[in-house]
Symmetry: C2
Subunit: 321 residues, 2 copies
């Protein structure tokens, strides 16, 4: 499988604060909504010992990941993130250094995506550290991409390799690389600690009207694709040999990571199939990974190279499993 | 002191969902911003054993209070609340019944204020229950009321009696009424458990352009007024005998509750003094409580009936005290 260098959102100059009327310090933040646009609102929690641990996740990565989750939701609507508010309940054991490195990680990502931190709430708590991030974004009216738009015959794409974040977490937990090369291990750990929300791709798909449905892969392909199918009232066939996996000696292990590993924050895209030919979706000159197609019959099936079909049960991350 | 019956926001019919393009279920909520308006964003945490306890606060009151905090922030900008997103990290010991009563309390308040619950995030956690509420509201462009607009000579008003919530909490904690009448005790407990955000008054002040500065009293008059003065670069004189207090046998105790008790969610208003006369601000036919005036010299001072001045130190609720 071709190695794709993971693309990072280009650093943006600090945004001119024209649209921000009032930030941190008053009762609430005051911002201007752009006319002709719809507003995207998304809120995501990051909880110590649920979403991160002190031992495995450096504070700047905790800040990065907490914001990345919400940015990725905006990407998954085809929108542009604009403003963030952060609630931080800090466990009493937390040092000032931890908090300042946490904000440094979050603000570095915010700046790179042109997002202003406009408010929040802070408290000291007896228990675990708790972070909640609201991101407000915008999308031209009628251009938002939903989960519910997939139709039978649509083709399924993902934006990049899957399972890298789960592999990175496994490497952090075991502290041993085994047969994995140093560079591959570093890439996987980086994917886990500093995931890159795919806002530019989401916006491209929305503005060009290329996708019929869009969502981000936060809980793993098997779980998220079944959610997309449910929202759209369709099913899906995934081609087992087309799923872009981490490059491990054991191909079955690689596939499991790609199918069920969460927190990749890549985009899952469906697009109408061109009549007669399957024209691959391209972004920045490179084709996206074309991994299957939407079918009318419910359920997600894995199509083996032999042509045999297996049911694919959702086995990704689910808080209420 | 005249008893004022506490005014409740009139129940609104369930809002026509024209402006809500997409609620819970997709990657994010999608809403329309009204043109010619600015967007107000505010986020507030409610944490078990910090902001509420299982023993004293019924679940519907926890839901009501969690939303009321954010609605009050929108009121304090002179805005109209429109949408809410709720993050709920539920401690594992929590029953389903608790959660459904929690949402019932929150949704009843949301409906009465015409606010749509459009999204959120939920997780099970090992520690304490944690709630975070984002409210998005709107205000006509240029009409938001800030903390920073108070000028020397402005008059200071509060929307209703202060200290009732702190008295209610004390009654809940001690389980004894002592010399307080049954009706007064019930009113205080109700003020604590089901505070009423002053959105209609905030909007009235904003649209009529009556206030120079506005904030809500969440942390107690002494603390919040000193914040308003700091933001405006001014000081304040409060007339000790004009502060609307709970009606307790010990006047010193009443005054302490009114000066330092938090969570009343009444509005603190400054308005330009009419030349020659002090015309009291009125809302719905009744004058607001006129409690003092803004002065040029920094610091908040309590003016005794004798004319003597005492420094008033901020002694309300502060998470980082």
């Amino acid at each position: 499988m071709a190695e794709r260098s993971r693309q990072r959102e280009p650093a943006q100059p600090l945004r001119v604060k024209k649209q921000l009327r009032l930030g941190i310090g008053d009762d609430a933040a005051l911002v201007m909504a752009q006319s002709g646009h719809e507003l995207i609102l998304t809120i995501d929690m990051s909880i110590e010992d649920v979403h991160f641990t002190r031992r495995l996740h450096p504070p700047d990565a905790v800040g990065h990941r907490a914001l990345a989750r919400s940015l990725s939701d905006v990407a998954a609507m085809g929108g542009v993130p604009r403003y963030a508010l952060v609630s931080l309940a800090i466990s009493r054991e937390t040092s000032r250094g931890w908090v300042s490195r946490f904000y440094r990680g979050m603000l570095a990502l915010a700046q790179r995506f042109g997002v202003e931190l406009v408010g929040g709430d802070t408290a000291m708590v007896p228990g675990k550290t708790f972070i909640d991030v609201l991101v407000a974004g915008e999308v031209p009216r009628g251009k938002a991409l939903l989960r519910s738009g997939a139709r039978a015959g649509d083709q399924i794409f993902v934006s990049d390799r899957l399972g890298l974040s789960a592999l990175g977490l496994r490497l952090l937990q075991s502290q041993r690389r085994g047969p994995i090369s140093k560079a591959a291990a570093r890439e996987a750990v980086r994917s886990h600690l500093y995931p890159e929300p795919q806002c530019a791709l989401g916006r491209f798909l929305s503005i060009r009207g290329l996708a019929s449905a869009l969502m981000d892969l936060s809980d793993g392909l098997s779980t998220d694709l079944s959610r997309l199918c449910e929202a759209s009232g369709v099913g899906a066939h995934l081609w087992e040999d087309k799923i872009p996996c981490p490059n491990l000696p054991d191909p079955a292990d690689s596939l499991q990571l790609a199918l069920h590993g969460g927190e990749d924050y890549q985009l899952l895209i469906t697009a109408p199939g061109a009549t007669g030919s399957r024209r691959p979706l391209k972004f920045r000159g490179r084709p996206l990974h074309h991994i299957g197609e939407i079918v009318a019959s419910k359920g997600v099936k894995l199509v083996m190279p032999s042509g045999k079909l297996h049911n694919l049960e959702p086995a990704g991350w689910d808080h209420f499993r």
